[in-house]
């Protein structure tokens, strides 16, 4: 990614993007989820142009259009109006791109983050820690959960069901 912008402008753009959250997981930013693949900032004498490349988590993810709008709005609030958002498919999104902060935020919202790297994911994993009580006495209820990226699990210690972010 080539940038001719001053470092301050770039930081302003990234900060604005940090305020864009996944519409379906409202506590994790799209940067922390690895949805933002590249940011190109061009600042020529205060005339700022930004290009943001995003990638869908799953092919049918209904959130992509909302995310695109939210990016325009967030950068607009930061005073940047010349924004192009483009979708890229390759390389395909993977949960390995979720940042450590993203994982902490997932956990804090009651979603167990992926327990392994995507390439190591075998048939349904075991021993996923409950995001509420930390117990390892958990079991899978369904390989498919409330959104495409999650599975439904249950804790046998605190008896609460919880979402598990599937390694992908």
């Amino acid at each position: 990614m080539v940038s001719t912008a001053g470092e301050n402008t770039r930081l302003r753009v990234l900060e604005a993007l940090d305020s864009v959250y996944d519409p379906e997981i409202q506590t994790v930013s799209i940067r922390d989820l690895g949805i933002v693949r590249a940011v190109d900032v061009c600042d020529e004498g205060g005339n700022i142009q930004v290009q943001v490349m995003i990638t869908p988590t799953y092919s049918g993810c209904p959130a992509m259009r909302v995310i695109e709008q939210d990016i325009h709005e967030a950068l607009g609030r930061a005073g940047i109006d010349q924004v192009a958002v483009e979708q890229v498919l390759y390389p395909p999104w993977t949960t390995d791109w979720i940042t450590d902060r993203g994982r902490r935020h997932l956990l804090a919202s009651g979603i167990a983050p992926p327990a392994c790297r995507a390439c190591e994911a075998g048939p349904m994993e075991s021993g996923i820690s409950c995001p509420r009580c930390g117990s390892d006495q958990t079991r899978v209820l369904s390989g498919f959960g409330a959104t495409a990226c999650k599975a439904l699990w249950r804790c046998d210690s605190c008896l609460e069901p919880f979402d598990y972010f599937k390694p992908h």
Partner: protein
């Protein structure tokens, strides 16, 4: 309809076939939304449907770009009549009971995964990119459907009988999966698609293993279906399209 001058008609055909298969399969599965045997299955089938419909959008968008005639992916989905659809007979089979849906899904997922693996290694970057993206999703689909085939086949007498019945209905659609026509042969020659012979051998080996575990076996195929890729379909597809296309046909261009 004016196409762009250098439209690659074989590539357009491939993209349309790939998109049509997943769109019709996705629509069929979506018929279970709100109606599946359990809440977990309702979510699973709806999630799989969503993945497939998302993949259909990627393939059909690539198809209209290749065609370059100003159509959109929605035009392909909502404005084509039954003879212009190039999907396999398997994906248009009605859902039947849950067991039949799962067997149909398993046959398709096993085929779909092998096909996508081959496509993801092909030399066309757009096609291999969409295939690589879809492949990750389809691994979950296959895990789900193969699990149910074993559970139901090797379940109660009732569930076993239903799977035997499902096999009678689904297997006539199997030979068509591996049919090769002029279009496919030309794509094979260009290294865009996997060799169908290899794909078939792998499919048969894998399906045989899963069916054995499920205490089931493939019945003899006496009345194979054929021709879906060139627009010859069962009567079921027309009814499906009537429902899927109704709104855009009644109110062309409607959005919400």
């Amino acid at each position: 309809m004016t196409k762009k001058i250098d439209t690659d008609s074989s590539r357009f055909e491939l993209l349309t076939r790939l998109g049509d298969n997943v769109l019709i399969m996705g629509h069929r599965l979506s018929e279970w939304s709100g109606d599946a045997p359990t809440l977990e299955e309702d979510m699973a089938l709806s999630n799989i449907a969503l993945d497939l419909i998302g993949q259909a959008r990627l393939w059909l968008t690539a198809a209209v770009m290749e065609e370059g005639a100003g159509r959109t992916e929605d035009d392909l989905a909502y404005q084509r009549d039954v003879r212009d659809w190039h999907n396999l007979h398997l994906v248009e089979l009605p859902n039947g009971d849950f067991g039949r849906t799962m067997l149909r899904q398993y046959f398709f997922d096993a085929y779909h995964l092998l096909l996508l693996e081959g496509l993801s290694k092909g030399c066309d970057r757009e096609i291999s990119g969409i295939a690589a993206k879809s492949l990750k999703e389809v691994r979950y689909h296959l895990r789900h459907s193969s699990g149910w085939v074993v559970r139901l086949g090797d379940g109660t007498q009732e569930s076993h009988n239903r799977m035997v019945n499902a096999l009678e209905i689904c297997t006539p659609c199997v030979p068509e999966l591996f049919e090769v026509d002029e279009v496919y042969r030309s794509l094979e020659a260009r290294d865009l698609v996997p060799a169908m012979n290899d794909l078939q051998a792998q499919w048969e080996r894998q399906v045989h293993a899963v069916l054995s575990e499920a205490t089931l076996s493939m019945p003899e195929i006496t009345n194979p279906m054929s021709g879906g890729r060139v627009g010859l379909h069962s009567e079921h597809l027309g009814y499906l399209l009537a429902e899927m296309q109704f709104l855009q046909r009644a109110y062309p261009g409607a959005t919400w």
